[in-house]
Symmetry: C2
Subunit: 333 residues, 2 copies
């Protein structure tokens, strides 16, 4: 196993410590609970946004904590849900009296634990609500998930609902907006290689040197098809065919587009993919809103591969998408 | 070869086309020359900054084109210098009458070609000057370079001199500032795996499953030592020992710190490395300025590994480091 780690079982704690040390103006850590919170939390009279999930998807989730996006992120072990105790600590740390909203990727452990945390928060007299994001059109039901999985489209929920919370939208309004984003976002991904989680030190799946898997999940969950590797344009064709062929009509209005790298695919290749994404969308009558999002937003350690996300925007979403934010994942300079 | 590419020989052109399509508000492409320029170039009466080099180091160089950083970037073939014709086209496209300044990483082909371009520009009555960045303390003289190599520290030159040019500094002033940054920046890197350039389809060097190489260059140039893989903290110790042990005294004043991923190392592991970087610097009496830079700034395709860069700051550099900029590499949101 070739990794920049010390003891594999301490990798999450050490990562979070490094994150806090690197970005101390933005975030602080509740180290005993592996929770990253905004440095200025709690923000009074603002709905607080909390997300979280297994580690190994960086910059998801901690990289999106800061003004204009999340108030807190709960980091579970690699590819494993955080527990309700962590989530409750995050909830208490960020509640500013206007309630706490959970952005949950559809992954059974995450959903159950955030639901339980909502009940625990009620005892603490903190009002909560949540959305379950299920943007991945690849498969219904999967290894760790009932229904469709939640993947990179979740980052658009962080951005849009984060700006809305800053704008003073109340808990019910945030929930309605989050559900609306979720109803209009569709993603589809593919993988070329497996990643190697630090603790096991073993690939999470086997794949041939000449194979790719369409519809692979970000924890190595099986996709829809294992086949011989194809040119980039064919990969894009397959992903977009599925994303465009789902139940959202992307030919009306403007669409935010993300090409998300899974960790091991160079930015060069993500731009190669985006060139064809842009061509196909133009041919299909889909209008890309302003600039596309091309980079690593939700990874799977060092897995090679990428996903494409389409979000059909309305005027309110556009406004919130354009608002400034200040998070570690958004400020290399 | 598992890559998201179509024809390997078209990968640079397709990447640049994708980059332009994704970020058309920021940049435009001179496609026949593989040059990325600011969308609003030329900016009148401002010194224009041009950089460039081989492709495969993304987001270097095109990702740093935009207000507050570079005016243009010339993309050579993967790991191969761009030619003077490209550089001259870039020069003519961005010259706003105040001269053009070349930020050149020390790589023999880049240096020769930018020097030749300066002579060609003189014929066109465009005043130019340049700096050669040689921040890599690993080795004197290397496969493609006479003297020390230029690596991730170059990005600080883009940022600081880009802000200075926006601020109205003249060509002589930009050169003095660039030389000052170069005199105060030191980097050292290591690699765990080789990358695979698309055209050859073969790793650029062989390395054992249990080995790492200290001081490896971003084109696979040999480093100082091949050894058994060590814990992250030991890797950091070796890199910092070299960077701190060079001729810059980092214990006086404030220091900008970058942990740069080479492409295949997850962000999780870069933060693990940064945690120990912060500890060592504190122990050694080095004061980290504001927030650290942790991410992929100058990569080597999908190579696993990282480098550490230290820049001793003065008050002028700090001011320019803090100025806003708007470049593709700096705006995921």
């Amino acid at each position: 196993m070739k990794k920049v780690v010390n003891a594999p079982e301490r990798v999450v704690e050490e990562m979070l410590r490094g994150m806090e040390l690197a970005h101390s103006e933005l975030i602080r850590l509740i180290p005993e609970h592996n929770v990253v919170v905004r440095a200025d939390a709690p923000v009074q009279n603002k709905v607080a946004l909390v997300s979280g999930g297994g580690s190994g998807h960086e910059p998801t989730h901690g990289g999106y904590v800061g003004p204009g996006m999340l108030d807190a992120a709960c980091a579970g072990p690699v590819f494993t849900s955080p527990n309700p105790e962590q989530m409750l600590e995050a909830t208490k740390a960020v509640d500013g009296g206007a309630g706490v909203f959970y952005v949950v990727k559809n992954y059974t452990g995450d959903v159950l634990n955030f639901e339980m945390t909502g009940e625990l928060a009620e005892v603490e007299e903190i009002q909560t609500d949540y959305v379950v994001i299920n943007d991945d059109v690849a498969v219904e039901d999967s290894t760790y998930t009932s229904g469709r999985r939640g993947i990179a489209g979740t980052v658009f929920v962080h951005k849009i609902c984060g700006a809305a919370a800053d704008d003073g939208k109340d808990l019910a309004g945030i929930k309605e907006l989050a559900e609306r984003v979720n109803s209009n976002v569709r993603s589809m991904g593919m993988a070329l290689t497996s990643c190697v989680p630090p603790v096991s030190g073993e690939p999470i799946f086997e794949i041939g040197d000449d194979e790719m898997e369409i519809g692979m999940g970000i924890h190595g969950e099986p996709g829809t098809e294992r086949k011989k590797i194809e040119p980039a344009d064919s990969m894009v064709d397959e992903l977009l065919q599925r994303a465009l062929g789902d139940d959202v009509d992307f030919t009306q209005g403007d669409v935010a587009v993300m090409v998300n790298g899974l960790g091991g695919t160079p930015l060069m290749e993500l731009y190669v993919a985006y060139a064809h994404v842009a061509d196909v969308l133009k041919r299909e009558g889909v209008n890309v809103y302003r600039m596309a999002y091309v980079g690593e937003y939700m990874t799977s350690l060092e897995m090679a591969g990428f996903s494409v996300t389409l979000l059909k925007l309305d005027e309110e979403m556009k406004g919130y998408l354009e608002e400034p934010c200040d998070v570690a994942a958004g400020r290399p300079f």
